[in-house]
Symmetry: C2
Subunit: 139 residues, 2 copies
Amino acid sequence: MRNKIADLDVFLRDRGIKASFQRIKIYDYLQCSFTHPSVSMIYEDLHPQIPSLSRATVYNTLNLFLEKKLVQVVNTEGSEARFDLADPHHGHFTCESCGTIIDIPLDKAPALPEGLTGFEVFETQLHFRGKCPQCSSKN
Amino acid sequence: MRNKIADLDVFLRDRGIKASFQRIKIYDYLQCSFTHPSVSMIYEDLHPQIPSLSRATVYNTLNLFLEKKLVQVVNTEGSEARFDLADPHHGHFTCESCGTIIDIPLDKAPALPEGLTGFEVFETQLHFRGKCPQCSSKN
DNA sequence: GTATCTGCAAAACATTTGCAATTCT
DNA sequence: AGAATTGCAAATGTTTTGCAGATAC
């Protein structure tokens, strides 16, 4: 990686998104975090670095990314939406005890069953809920 | 079916839920509707029949059903949660154009990939997003 | 110079909670 | 009577919007 900022700039522009400083930082945050963050988590973490940042900008940016299919809403338990980069080759597991959201690698993206015709699929999501290994062994 | 109300009464009690009139009506509504309704849809439709019904009761009842794993949150697009009876043998398809949520029958419930150990899975959800056959053919 | 994006504050919604009244056993 | 459930109204929390100022092209 030569210059992360410049690369993200190109990446976003290629997808029809004007690459402002805030947008680059938010995309970069999603790429580097493994927590499937909520708007609040993103705002709280980025605000110290970018004191002028507002929550509205985080909301607007994520909505733009959603529209352009760069990100997905992963989980909505607990009333706050949680986000992740769009990628059909992994699913998610939400632990009901500790609330962690874990990436589940998939060999291949799940597909619609044979015989269903006429559907155009833009996005695929596989989600499990239960107890993660740590919480499961604690009982 | 002999007596739907009486049957639902037994069904709910078997699952540790005291079967009030409101709860039976809400469960029955979910069973009979194919729209994957939101709280508002349930409330608007049931309110004429049960004038005293309050939104809070619909929320409370759905939360109780969620806790007892009788229902699932299917979709959260547009900020309102949409509900369906829990059943791992079907997935969902949300049409981005018309907003309809369509049941997708599955031969078998999706499973965690081999090699992941220690997870307890209580709930599985497979979700597609795109254009349904009708909307797809209109462009 | 025009269009777009940001940040603030206010508005709009969705959901939860506290409490009194009601219902069920 | 005692326990649980309902309905209302108020509170909470999240997300969206309108608009003025700042930025980018």
